[in-house]
């Protein structure tokens, strides 16, 4: 019971920390912190697909592109961000359904291959359809959302705006994961055969998880376009998708706060390790492989493992935790 009481206090502390973090820093640091939040949203979505539903999606950046371009085109045409962003998310959700439907009909890693190939298609559309997307020059000078009393033109208000969106997105996801419907996601990951035998329509649930995860990427994209105010096809390539995937894995897939930790490692750490320059990605990818060999649960997994060791909690039916893995 004590843990349950500690948790809200810890969350409140983290939230206060997030509110205080940018104060007294220059615009650049605030920009980096904002992009940390944005990538956390994208990674949160992928965590639903990978961590809860157990499917690899390699198109998270492409869905960000769909969200970013939709928002950019609509806000440039004079629509408000509050209308443009949901449109982008719905579009991502629908594309997710269309893409996921064939891929999830068959078992195996088909979603990974389909989404891998989907990256190319999105890139080609963005580059070739100049009339809509500005071709390889992209789109620029998108307006930032304006809420009359609260303008987000400056970097700091935009950070708080992003923080608010992130908190709402996280709460919604929390609700989804806690709902009976979200528990079906988890059941599916732990033991698909058993989930199916208990009446969970695995195919539909996986498809929904993927589509919702894609919609989260759309939301992240909708925030990217007012943040950087310049988008081009090249910034949403396969390597960006892989980056988001590794965020989820490094943070700890299947843990609710994993994406935040993972995004921090991928976005904030390179800023601190500037001296490693071009070697950063080499070192990072090697460390990911080592990590997968020893702690497949990611950084949060290390945390829980350490806690178990030093502050062992009373465990009722420890075998239940293992039960899911028994074949």
């Amino acid at each position: 019971m004590t843990r349950l009481n500690k948790r809200p206090a810890l969350l409140l502390f983290l939230l206060v920390l997030a509110i205080l973090a940018p104060l007294g820093h220059g615009n650049y640091i605030i920009y980096v912190l904002t992009s940390w939040l944005i990538f956390s949203i994208a990674a949160m979505g992928l965590n639903l697909t990978l961590g809860y539903a157990g499917q690899i999606s390699l198109a998270q950046a492409s869905f960000m592109a769909i969200g970013a371009y939709t928002t950019a085109i609509m806000t440039l045409a004079g629509w408000h961000w509050l209308i443009a962003a949901p449109v982008g998310m719905v579009l991502c959700f629908l594309v997710g359904l269309v893409l996921g439907y064939p891929a999830l009909r068959v078992k195996g890693h088909f979603l990974a291959f389909v989404t891998l190939a989907f990256n190319t298609l999105v890139f080609l559309v963005l580059r070739n359809e100049d009339w809509l997307t500005g071709g390889s020059y992209g789109l620029s000078s998108m307006p930032r959302p304006d809420f009359y009393l609260f303008k987000t033109l400056k970097q700091l208000p935009f950070y708080y705006f992003t923080l608010a969106v992130t908190v709402v997105a996280a709460l919604v996801l929390w609700g989804i994961v806690r709902s009976p419907w979200g528990r079906a996601f988890k059941a599916l990951r732990e033991n698909p055969v058993r989930a199916e035998s208990l009446g969970v329509d695995t195919r539909r649930i996986t498809l929904l998880a993927f589509a919702i995860g894609s919609a989260y990427a759309g939301l992240a994209g909708a925030l990217v376009s007012p943040l950087v105010q310049y988008i081009d096809p090249g910034s949403f390539g396969l390597s960006q998708s892989l980056r988001i995937l590794l965020m989820v894995v490094v943070g700890g897939s299947g843990f609710f706060f994993g994406p935040f930790v993972g995004a921090a490692v991928v976005i904030l750490l390179p800023e601190m390790l500037r001296f490693t320059a071009g070697y950063y990605l080499i070192i990072y990818s090697a460390l990911v492989i080592v990590m997968l060999a020893y702690v497949p649960n990611g950084l949060i997994g290390i945390g829980t493992r350490l806690r178990e060791r030093f502050w062992p909690q009373h465990r009722a039916r420890g075998d239940l935790a293992k039960g899911a893995q028994l074949k």
């Binding site: 068959v106 990974a112 190319t120 892989l242 990818s285 492989i289």
Partner: protein, 292 residues
């Protein structure tokens, strides 16, 4: 008509090289249940081994090719199995798949940092003359690529079907438990599969790099095409991967010439979705091989 012939032949030539990569991918999948997302990078890398041998060590081309082949088999065969697959396989399929993606980034960035980001010219292995057949201009290089690649496939098939070791490998891939009981050293057979994959990647690299130039990012497209070729042809056999590779090579060229050059790179996605919807076990695959 002559244009059609040209397009077909050069499609078959590149397609046969895709097939080599796809076959390696299939072998690894069958024997170790590993979906290798670094397969494209496995083809990108050997070309750079050759470049290092010829440029830095000043070896003649033929020796450089042999050295590069040997190094590739050791690095992408033995080391890949010992350092990446074996430690991670127990944690499950998804961590291993993701590890191969991290490996892809690792190989790509290493080549970019340590060799260079620009596309490097690569010495052609065959004369680049052209022949005139019934009015069609056919490059000799294409014909040589096609012949060599098909010869490699034939040799590999004979090895797997006619030799004792090859048949042991098949047994180990189909049912490791029973194979073990029958006295087959399953671990060694799996190792052989990794060695063959390394060798196939190296050979594909030597054949395709003169056409595409050596660049660190070559693997992205090559890998994607190889996966799709393996899936389209049928995941569980060599002739499937061969058919898939040839089909993609030809269709890619036909699309670029007769349909759309701008969207030619979207062909793999279209093909993949059509196959999944219509014939999920692949063109030549048997459905029980797709149970996984």
């Amino acid at each position: 008509m002559s244009q059609f012939l040209q397009v077909m032949l050069s499609g078959l030539a590149t397609g046969s090289i895709y097939a080599l990569v796809a076959i390696g991918f299939t072998l690894i999948w069958q024997s170790a249940k590993t979906v290798n997302f670094a397969q494209g990078e496995f083809v990108m890398l050997p070309a750079f081994f050759v470049l290092v041998c010829t440029k830095v060590l000043a070896l003649p081309l033929w020796l450089a090719l042999i050295v590069a082949l040997a190094v590739t088999v050791v690095v992408l065969g033995v080391l890949f199995k010992k350092l990446v697959v074996e430690p991670i396989l127990p944690s499950g399929g998804i961590p291993l798949t993701i590890a191969t993606m991290a490996l892809a980034i690792f190989l790509k960035e290493s080549v970019k940092e340590f060799y260079g980001a620009e596309a490097q010219p690569f010495p052609p292995l065959f004369p680049s003359q052209t022949l005139n057949v019934f009015g069609a201009v056919i490059s000799l290089q294409d014909i040589c690529n096609l012949v060599v690649a098909l010869a490699i496939v034939v040799v590999l098939t004979l090895f797997l079907n006619r030799t004792r070791t090859g048949r042991c490998m098949q047994a180990a891939a189909q049912n490791p438990a029973v194979a073990e009981i029958l006295g087959i050293n399953v671990r060694r057979m799996v190792l052989y599969a990794f060695l063959i994959n390394g060798a196939l990647a190296a050979l594909a690299s030597f054949l395709i790099t003169p056409v595409y130039l050596a660049k660190f990012s070559n693997g992205e497209v090559l890998g994607l095409i190889a996966f799709i070729a393996a899936i389209v042809g049928g995941f569980n056999q060599i002739r499937g991967a061969l058919a898939g590779g040839l089909l993609i090579g030809v269709l890619d060229n036909l699309t670029a010439t007769y349909v759309t050059a701008e969207y030619r790179a979207a062909l793999p996605l279209v093909l993949l979705i059509v196959v999944i919807l219509v014939r999920p076990q692949g063109l030549l695959g048997t459905s029980e091989g797709r149970a996984v």
